[in-house]
Amino acid sequence: MNESILERIASGDQAAVAQCLDRYGGLVWSVARSWSDNAADAEDATQEIFIALWKSAARYNPSVGSEAVFISTIARRRMIDRLRSKGRRPSTEEFDESVMFELADSAPDQGMVAAEAAIAVRAVAQLEAGQQQVLMMGVVQGMTHSEIATVTGKPLGTVKTQLRRGLIRVRELIEQGADSADLKGAD
């Protein structure tokens, strides 16, 4: 079995860096832009994320998820820390009770992105509209639980519960999907 890009990076193969940027650069840039106030901030964040990724590459375990999800996890964690340290909210878009997830198109070489994303969409689609809205705000918008409670008028405890249950459902479906389809590795 061929080594994944991250496994090659972890072993010090610098040639894999370019491949990583080719395949996942747009993904990281997209996450950074969506949670940054401006382009300069997004560029700094992207730099931080990739340095963190080089450092964390050795922790990638292809048996529990794809590279895309691992890299997204790194990117999200970094952005969440940045948002908290700056004490500000991320980008804002408008939502209503009928918000539904739609699968974004993926680039041709991002098949694994599409696979796990499709599972996530299926999982979210099973949630009731209010839960979907909360999940969208908490996961995609980067809003804090308190902000979600304020915007939706729901009790903070309800927001936390809906987020927890939503993520558990997504996790369960991804695990089931991993049993029936190969989500492991990106090469």
Partner: protein, 258 residues
């Protein structure tokens, strides 16, 4: 079975940074539960996020070059690049509590730029004035459409136009007669409706102010997320700082691209 409290804290970590005390509690709970997959919630959140990311994003060429340079320095053990500041904690808790080393100068610089420009810094520094930048964008073939004022009191005498370059992902709003605002009282907020997105989710273009006494005001438009195909620009009147969700009760002006 994983406790609800542990799941709550893992959910919190996957969606917002826990406070110090909660992080400590999470670390302690995880130490007592070696069977728990500590990153499962993060992966679920990442999968959901992946599902809604905009399509066809590519790194800007200059940024890509910077990232390649960063990587070269990292792999050559440059201490500035290889500092612990960039370690993302995954998996089991570290023996000691997390210590965040952020780049405080970034926040300072961003705040300074915001104070100077009153708006977001551009993708690239420009020595041109705003009218010159706007004229240059028009010369490059950017779309240009006039504002349509609503009956909102702020827009009684409002006119002007919006210039938008899809390729550059930037533009300029020009206003004449839009009511000046006291920022501590209310602010204007731009929303960009994107044909590639659900119309319920316009892109937040940020807040801006109209200074009193100005005959003509030009405001740069540089959205913080990609706009696939801008079809409508709308300016609403909002509370200071802008809003997460606009009730659209006070729409000042709109401009529909043909």
């Amino acid at each position: 079975m994983t406790s609800d409290r542990l799941n709550d804290l893992l959910t919190q970590r996957a969606t917002e940074a826990p406070a110090e005390t909660e992080q400590s509690e999470l670390d302690e709970l995880l130490r007592g539960r070696p069977d728990v997959d500590a990153d499962a919630f993060d992966r679920a959140a990442a999968a959901v996020h992946l599902a809604v990311l905009p399509r066809g994003e590519f790194l800007p060429a200059a940024l890509r070059k910077t990232l390649e340079d960063d990587a070269a320095r990292y792999f050559n053990s440059d201490p500035d690049v290889a500092s612990d500041a960039n370690v993302v904690q995954l998996g089991r808790p570290a023996p000691t509590a997390r210590t965040a080393h952020y780049w405080p100068w970034l926040a300072t610089a961003a705040a300074l730029l915001l104070a100077i420009t009153g708006w977001w810094p551009g993708f690239e520094p420009s020595t041109l004035t705003l009218p010159e930048q706007r004229a240059a964008l028009i010369e490059q073939g950017a779309s240009r459409v006039g504002w349509t004022a609503t009956d909102d009191p702020s827009a009684t005498n409002a006119s002007g136009d919006v210039v938008w370059s899809q390729n550059n992902q930037e533009g300029f709003m020009l206003f004449r007669g839009l009511l000046s605002n006291e920022p501590s009282s209310f602010q204007y907020q731009l929303w960009i409706f994107d044909a590639d997105r659900d119309e319920r989710f316009p892109v937040d273009g940020g807040v801006f102010d109209i200074q009193p006494g100005a005959d003509e005001v030009i405001i740069p438009v540089r959205p913080n997320i990609p706009v696939g195909q801008a079809v409508l620009f709308a300016v609403t009147v909002e509370v200071p700082g802008g809003v997460v969700v606009s009730d659209r009760e006070r729409i000042a002006v709109v401009a529909e691209l043909g």
